[in-house]
């Protein structure tokens, strides 16, 4: 994940939106493109998207909020996701998560004060055989214990 970017202007949002209008069902591609470009989908973008697609901002909000990965505010430099699904819970993921949050001094979805790490829950990474599992940015990690988590967080600069 790259460094957080400054909030986009309305013109920048409009430019991205108009780049996707030729698609059938352009809403999700637009949201992806915005998030990819700006690291988040700012609130003011909703009305711009709605106007371009001739729908309401409520509808855009409904779609965007359905997907947990679309963000309203930029994340930290790195995103650490800790699996909270059944297999990982059975292998102590809840305790690991609690300790991790304590170490970082933040709650779920929070970002460390230095802006290095955002921590989020995830419900199954498909790594049940290597539970507890986590994911740092795009990389999945299995058999995470306290030591491994410390190392991951250190690498991420937390």
């Amino acid at each position: 994940m790259s460094a957080p970017m400054p909030a986009p202007t309305e013109e920048e949002v409009r430019a991205i939106v108009s780049g996707q209008l030729h698609l059938e069902g352009p809403l999700l591609p637009i949201l992806h493109d915005l998030q990819h470009t700006f690291g988040h989908v700012p609130r003011m973008a909703l009305q711009v998207i709605a106007d371009a697609l001739n729908i309401t901002r409520a509808e855009v909000h409904g779609v965007m909020s359905f997907y947990h990965d679309f963000r309203e505010v930029p994340a930290g430099h790195h995103v650490v996701k800790i699996c909270r699904a059944e297999a990982c819970q059975a292998m102590g993921a809840e305790a690991l998560a609690a300790r991790t949050l304590e170490k970082l001094g933040t709650a779920w979805h929070g970002t460390t004060v230095n802006g290095a790490v955002t921590v989020e829950p995830v419900y199954c990474l498909g790594l049940c055989a290597c539970a507890p599992a986590a994911m740092v940015d795009d990389r999945v990690v299995g058999r995470v214990d306290d030591a491994k988590m410390d190392r991951l967080l250190r690498e991420a600069g937390a």
Partner: protein, 966 residues
């Protein structure tokens, strides 16, 4: 639809909408039932009298299948499908109460209740809650899910958990809307509100945010509440909500109503049917009536919520008199007030002649009341000095359609819009002016119908969520005739007309003349582009679309009629419909959108100075005979004075007395200064109204009026539908308006003795052929009828001109464009046009006295950024709006909804008085004032104009009331 108290048959909810199709027979719980193909099993069961438990289904919305309470078993099929989404099939055998589905339902209900507060006894929906009913129906007796003692549970309804920690899933009530609350703690996320907002209202203001356990109803986006969202407060979501989540504040305050009366809304010409729900005479809420044929269960913010004016403290409940308008009012008894009025009026007639007095009937009052007021003029004053506020709105419709088709009314019913393919909306703004019709139109547009908007302003219909006009022709105000003729030019010259229809149904000779006229190259869109401002290519495409797109319907409003060539445009519209064969079947036609609840009725009832009831000229001896027989008086064969003529005559000193019922001519008629001068010159002005309106500042007698909730009668809406108005509560002023008119007539020696409005309707039926079959019994039986209703059409006439025009052959009339005398020039370079807004109604006498003002508390002037910049204006600046007639001040709103050179405002607030600015130019045929075109100049200002200051001082002076003598 909430099943209030005892669900009668009419109130039953069938779960899913009715379908049309060939019959299909199936067996449900051993009962054989036949329903149209495409119906749901849930609906089929309901038709057989079996109710399947349900939460997310209601018959105003398409099935959704989310609550899983309505599951059934079908023989030979696996699983337990939801009956709301399961279409019927021939020979299907369905079981709705097997052990298996009963167990599923209990389990589902148990989960719902585990996340719902159990405060039923103190809940506003107690006794009116579908969740409560369904919990009872499935026999839920226990909820096994318990909260852990130390906290740490997840639910949405408790602010704090058992350990005292704040519950992050709990959200406070949203009280932002003045009329209803959203309490997320009671929500079961059935999505009915979201679907109602989309399917019924078409605003798409609501959504479900999040997913799974986090799903919630959200108005607008994150950070919005109901007020900040796109919500227009139509009440469809409140109506659809099965619980107390969306609840009228009035019900929270007053409790569940115990009785209801079906009546008709008294705002616009759509004429929605409502159920007034009450405790005793305490009106708890107005609920749109499902079987209302104009609204089909829908409503808007005015009819649904803005009824508080009926009990507003400003209402005047005692009659008042004074000798001159500089005196304060004196409260007196009814006898004294009526005696005073009668002797003054008789005195004026003795001094200045029979024709020195007159009446103005009201489009706000019932047919029966209007009939009596014109009868007062004709039978008691013995002149034809009667006119009505239709003069200033739809009189050109009456004239134009009468000339071309032979009847002075729209050709269709509102259901017709469901069959239309191409719609032209010209000079109307339905989403604001006729919101319930707009919702029905938008539904059809979302289903694929095409729209052409002809309006100087980019109204909401041009582009709003999920709808977009195929063509918007933003013409310059005042050039309607030219645009309509150019449309005809394209259709005729490109050979797109329906020749078979024209040959069969219209006068072919006249058509030849007309075709030659419109084919002239000077009527081509290219030749008129400079004049109208409409790009020629766009106009050509619009014409082709209308002529070739299937069923074409034209809906128009006051943007057509309120012009110096209003009648000509109406005829032009009629020509277009005949030219394309779009008459006489569902989905087509010419449809005037009437401004007021009973403007159609007021016209029908003979309010015009030249016409007796049923649009028959007073010159006709046979017609006069009928009324002379019925009334026992001789009727003057000479037409009387129109409103503008009355005012002119008053200024000249020949017109001295006026009885004005339910209309505020000072605020609503053009050129306010002239109206004020006319009123001031009269010696006896009797105002009969709910409030001390602006006209009453010049009155000598004030007779308190009654609201539509306080009397029996009928209103006739834009589709000619005669709807019953029923007395919901006793008149607070003591008398219904028809009784007051009768007492005034009797004080002048008339000797009338009606005891109920049904007797007045009987008299109307006897004297007026198009109403011959109408009686209160018939209306009781059928709910409503559309005139003509007589021996030929005993059930009324939903569609006019089906086999032939009323006048015989349809008549094409040549429509030559003649520019209005009101022109922009160096001193007044901009064109002002006026209109209405959703939350306020006309002069605002009613809506300004309700919470609707939160949406619109002052009139603003819309001006294009270009024109604003030239004048150094910023958004929200005070500006001076001046015309040749006068000037006023208001705030500017900078927007590109108006074109450069055009400015727009509303006329809802008396302190702005847009009509000080409008001129006294009017329609050539009917004198309908040209409100829609005024040349103006706009400049920065720092306060009210001299007129505004003088006027408000005069108003304050004139409104003083002496304390009643003890």
């Amino acid at each position: 639809m909430k099943d209030l108290i005892i669900p009668s048959d009419a109130e039953r909810d069938f779960g899913t909408p009715a379908k049309e199709g060939k019959p299909v027979t199936l067996t449900i719980d051993g009962f054989e039932v036949t329903v149209p193909e495409g119906s749901s099993v849930m609906r089929a069961a309901a038709e057989a009298g079996l109710q399947i438990p349900k939460l997310c289904a209601t018959d105003s919305l398409e099935a959704f299948g989310s609550c899983r309470l309505c599951v059934v078993e079908v023989e030979g099929r696996r699983g337990t499908p939801s009956s709301c989404t399961l279409p019927v099939a021939e020979g299907m055998v369905v079981r709705t109460q097997s052990q298996k589905v009963k167990k599923i339902r209990k389990g589902v209900m148990e989960l719902y209740i585990s996340d719902h507060p159990l405060d039923c006894l103190t809940c506003a929906a107690n006794g009116d809650c579908e969740l409560q009913d369904m919990a009872g129906m499935v026999g839920l007796r226990d909820v096994r899910y318990e909260q852990p003692k130390a906290g740490g549970f997840a639910n949405h309804f408790q602010a704090r958990d058992t350990s005292g920690e704040a519950n992050p899933d709990w959200l406070p009530k949203d009280d932002s809307n003045p009329y209803f609350t959203y309490d997320p703690s009671k929500c079961i996320v059935c999505s009915r509100c979201v679907r109602a907002c989309e399917e019924v209202q078409g605003t798409f203001a609501l959504t479900i945010e999040g997913r799974g356990f986090d799903s919630r109803v959200s108005a607008g986006a994150a950070g919005d509440d109901f007020m900040a969202s796109d919500c227009v407060s139509c009440g469809a979501c409140v109506q659809a909500c099965p619980t107390a989540t969306l609840q009228e504040k009035s019900v929270i305050e007053l409790g569940t109503p115990e009785r209801s009366v079906i009546t008709t809304c008294a705002y616009c010409g759509v004429g929605c049917s409502f159920k007034a729900e009450l405790n005793g005479d305490d009106l708890v809420r107005m609920v749109p009536y499902k079987h209302g044929k104009a609204n089909r269960g829908h409503s808007c913010v005015k009819g649904r919520f803005a009824y508080g004016y009926a009990t507003h403290k400003d209402r005047i409940l005692n009659p008042m008199i004074r000798d001159s308008i500089d005196q304060p009012w004196k409260e007196v008894s009814w006898e004294e007030a009526l005696g005073f009025a009668a002797s003054k009026m008789r005195g004026l007639q003795e001094t200045y002649g029979k024709k020195s007095i007159g009446v103005i009937t009201s489009s706000r009052c019932t047919n029966e009341e209007t009939y009596l007021v014109q009868k007062l003029a004709r039978a008691v004053f013995e002149n034809n000095n009667t006119d009505t506020c239709a003069r200033v709105c739809h009189s050109p419709t009456g004239y134009g359609l009468g000339q071309t088709f032979g009847t002075s009314a729209g050709t269709q019913d509102f259901d017709s819009v469901e069959h239309t393919d191409v719609v032209i909306v010209i000079g109307a703004n339905p989403t604001d002016g006729h919101p319930v019709f707009a919702s029905r139109l938008k539904k059809r547009l979302r289903a694929g119908a095409k729209l052409i908007v002809i309006d100087p302003r980019r109204i909401d219909l041009v582009k709003s969520a999920h709808i977009e006009a195929a063509h918007h022709l933003p013409l310059r105000p005042g050039t309607n005739v030219s645009v309509v003729t150019s449309l005809a030019h394209v259709i005729v010259t490109e050979g797109l007309m329906d020749e078979a229809f024209i040959r069969e149904r219209c006068d072919w000779e006249e058509f030849q003349d007309y075709a030659a006229f419109v084919s002239d190259p000077r009527h081509s869109p290219e030749a008129n582009e400079m004049l109208t401002g409409v790009p020629a290519e766009e106009l050509r495409k619009a014409a082709r679309l209308f002529a070739t797109g299937g069923n074409g319907a034209i809906y128009y409003g006051l943007g057509v009629t309120e012009h110096s060539q209003g009648s000509t445009t109406v005829m032009g519209i009629a020509n277009l419909a005949m030219l394309t064969g779009n008459l006489g079947r569902p989905g087509v036609g010419v449809n005037p959108l009437r401004g007021q609840n009973n403007v159609q009725g007021a016209c029908d009832m003979g309010s015009f100075p030249h016409e007796l009831p049923g649009y028959r000229h007073v010159k006709r001896e046979d017609v006069r005979d009928v009324f002379e027989q019925a009334w026992g008086v001789e009727i003057d064969p000479e037409p009387g004075l129109r409103i503008p003529n009355m005012l002119d005559a008053a200024v000249e000193g020949t017109f001295k007395g006026l009885y004005c019922q339910g209309e505020d001519i000072l605020q609503s008629d053009p050129d306010t200064k002239h109206v004020a001068a006319g009123l001031a010159a009269m010696e006896c002005v009797i105002v009969h109204d709910l409030f001390l309106n602006e006209t009453a500042n010049y009155a000598h007698v004030f007779l308190p009026g009654s609201t539509f909730l306080e009397k029996d009668g009928t209103f006739t809406n834009a589709e000619r539908r005669i709807n019953r108005v029923r007395k919901v509560m006793a008149p607070r002023n003591g008398y219904a308006d028809w009784e007051v008119t009768q007492e005034l007539a009797n004080a002048m020696g008339a000797g009338w003795h009606y005891t109920h409005p049904s007797q007045i309707m009987d008299e109307i039926a006897v004297t007026t052929p198009s109403f011959a079959g109408v009686s209160y019994d018939v209306l009781e039986q059928k709910g409503s009828v559309q005139w003509p209703c007589n021996a030929d059409h005993p059930d009324g006439t939903p569609l006019m001109h089906v086999d032939g025009f009323v006048r015989g052959k349809g008549r094409f009339i040549v429509t030559e464009y003649i520019a209005t005398d009101e022109r922009s020039g160096p001193r007044f370079p901009l064109l002002l046009t006026t209109g209405r807004i959703l939350s306020q109604y006309n002069v605002g006498a009613q809506t300004r006295r309700t919470a609707n003002s939160v949406w619109h508390h002052e009139d603003v002037l819309e001006i294009h950024p270009h024109d604003a910049e030239n004048r150094g204006l910023r958004d929200g600046d005070w500006i001076r709006l001046a015309s040749r007639s006068g000037e006023t001040t208001l705030r500017a709103k900078i927007t590109d909804r108006v074109s450069p050179g055009v400015v727009y405002t509303t006329f809802h607030h008396p302190d702005t008085q847009a009509n000080v600015v409008t001129t006294d130019f009017s329609d050539w045929a009917t004198n309908c004032p040209e409100y829609k075109v005024t040349a103006v100049q706009v400049s920065p200002s720092n306060g009210p104009s001299d007129w505004q200051r003088e006027y408000s001082a005069q108003a304050e002076q004139a409104r003083r009331i002496l304390p009643a003598a003890e």
